[in-house]
Amino acid sequence: MCPVAHLPEITADGGVLSLALSADLHRTVSSRYQYAVSVFVDIAPDESLADSPAAVVPSGRWRGRLTRAALPLLSVVVFFVVWQLIAASGIWNQTFVPNPGAVWHAFLDVSTTHDGVRGYAGYLLWEHLYMTLRRVFAGVVIGVVLGVLLGLVMGSVSWVRSVLEPWLTFLRALPPLAYFFLLVIWLGIDEAPKITLLALAALPPAAVATTAAVVAAPVGLQEAARALGASRRQVIRDVVVPSALPETFTGVRLAVGMAYSSVVAAELFNGLPGIGGLVKDASNYNNTPVVLVGIFAIGISGLVIDGLLRAVERRAVPWRGKI
């Protein structure tokens, strides 16, 4: 799971990294039982660094970077060429496969004011996207905070886990569309049901990942810390949480993904302005170019958000994979 782009940094100077790593751990782990820290560092294997082929040939690093940058670009170019060819071949009607030009034109129309019409349904594309991101942000923050707290409790107290796990699995199995109508009846048609839906979508992955991570926290480390005189609270704070954090972060990324993929469902009722509402409204009018603009907007912003989360993850849990 270690992000590929991270490798060059490590390989540049393995020594500095291990120093940085232990410094980080010193910060997280209370200095009172720093021997436990040395346990961390001792069992952190250095093989992954030594094995890295990029470290051997410095010029290979650049070639590697170039390949990594060029390959996705190339795939995008191939995609557009194939798309244009399919559209130009005329096998399918424009409503099925509009050509890239038509989608670009729709993108411009939706992003600007033209002939006295402001964007789509009175809002510009960025305004639709902004409203959606705001809803997703609120929903994810609520869902992830609750989910991680729930996961911590469930992971540490086994009877709570037994009680809550079936409920969580029940919730996780439900497609948001199934219960969204109930949320509308209970909470109305404004922001409340949308944010609740997104929070409900984000909560289970965060909770499940955190629970699993807490349960999987190395018993050896916990016992060592306790042997060194750490209290139960200290063990949780300084051993369990740091070792659970990488997996929790994966859970957070999954949670954001789940919430993001529920956006169209959440904006099914009164979704304008909103990118999901835009996609739904345009499908009602069989307006394929605008639907595609919406899909690209959702997909690309999803990529950007995931990239940001990965960057945060690298900063926040550099010890991922090293415990």
Partner: protein, 341 residues
């Protein structure tokens, strides 16, 4: 052992895939006619419930598929997955205009919206006339005939969509929002409409709008290729639809019973709904006011063109199609004799 388990899984999957709960009993040796219907009360449901088409066309499989909106029916026509479809005049006007240009023809008028579609204001919202709606929140299912009628009603009173807050809601959601006070008015249809009327009052109904020249209709459309290849099937289909209209006029109780069985309401409720709609007689359908006669397409083309112009004014389509386009899209073959006998 592992291989055996794999075989077992594959066999189980195949067995499950074969177990469909589809009871349409397709016979592979007969061609299939695919019909898209909606749950608004109309002759379509009577034909379906009484299996008149199946009886009249024993050499075909008839596959009925339910759709929730005209937009979905349009999508299915574009995908060439339907031969006949029931949809409102607003989706038809959109389908026949660019960029969709769906190759289908209007072959029947199922019903004309009357008091079964209406604009209702909630008691206590202080709205007594359409002009009072300025700045208020109004719920309606976007892209529907009700949406079209709402915009037409606002237009009549010198208001535009920008002067009010339009909210895209399906009828059930309108009811929820209404009870919570989230919307002040709604343009919707039965059966939700009757529930709204309990705590609100009509501002205008589609019957009035029809008199003012903005009728909304439910139409039966047939795919061009299919109509060219099987004109006899289209004739039979029109005869059965005409038979259903006659039943609605001659024996409304039997008609209500058949429709009730299809949409899960009581026959009494359906009978009430049938009274609020406008159901033409087969003679009226083939009159110049509606479909017209062979070679002389009726006034419905003008209605559709005006709906198309209206959609263009609302920026829902790039530009309106010509009257000629709509006249060409009326299936008048054999009219009026084909359905009045």
């Amino acid at each position: 052992m592992k291989l055996k388990a794999l075989f077992a899984v594959v066999a189980a999957t195949l067995a499950l895939a074969g177990c469909s709960v589809d009871r349409s009993a397709d016979q592979p040796d007969k061609p299939t006619i695919r019909i898209g219907y909606q749950s608004f009360p109309s002759g379509d449901l009577i034909v379906k419930n009484n299996k008149w088409l199946e009886e009249a066309l024993p050499n075909y499989n008839i596959k009925w598929t339910k759709f929730d909106s005209g937009a979905d029916v349009n999508t299915a026509f574009i995908a060439k997955e339907l031969d006949f479809g029931a949809l409102g005049s607003s989706p038809v006007a959109r389908g026949l205009s660019a960029p969709l240009n769906i190759p289908y023809k209007v072959a029947f008028v199922l019903d004309v919206a009357g008091d079964n579609e209406a604009l209702v204001a909630r008691n206590g919202s202080g709205i007594n006339t359409i002009a009072d709606l300025k700045g208020k929140r109004i719920g309606t299912p976007f892209a529907s005939t009700a949406h079209y009628s709402l915009l037409a009603a606002l237009n009549q009173n010198g208001l535009s969509a920008k002067d009010v807050q339009l909210v895209d809601l399906q009828p059930q959601a309108i009811l929820a929002a209404w009870d919570r006070g989230d919307v002040d008015a709604a343009y919707s249809w039965l059966p939700t409409l009757d529930q709204l009327r309990k705590s609100g009052k009509d501002l205008i109904t589609s019957r009035q709008l029809a008199k003012d020249g903005k009728p909304t209709l439910d139409l039966g459309a047939v795919r061009d290729e299919f109509a060219d290849a099987h004109p006899d099937v289209v004739d039979t289909w029109r005869q059965q639809e005409a038979r259903a209209l006659t039943l609605i006029h001659d024996d409304p109780t039997a008609a209500a019973k058949a429709i009730a069985a299809e949409i899960g309401l009581s026959p009494d409720e359906v009978a009430g709904q049938l009274k609020q709609g406008v159901y033409l007689t087969p003679e009226q359908v083939a009159s110049p006011e509606w479909l017209g006669a062979e070679g002389k397409p009726g006034n419905i083309a003008v209605n559709l063109q005006s709906a198309s112009q209206f959609l263009a004014d609302q920026k829902q389509i790039p530009s309106a199609a010509s009257l000629q386009t709509f006249q060409d899209a009326i299936y008048t073959k054999g009219l009026p004799g084909a359905i009045t006998q």
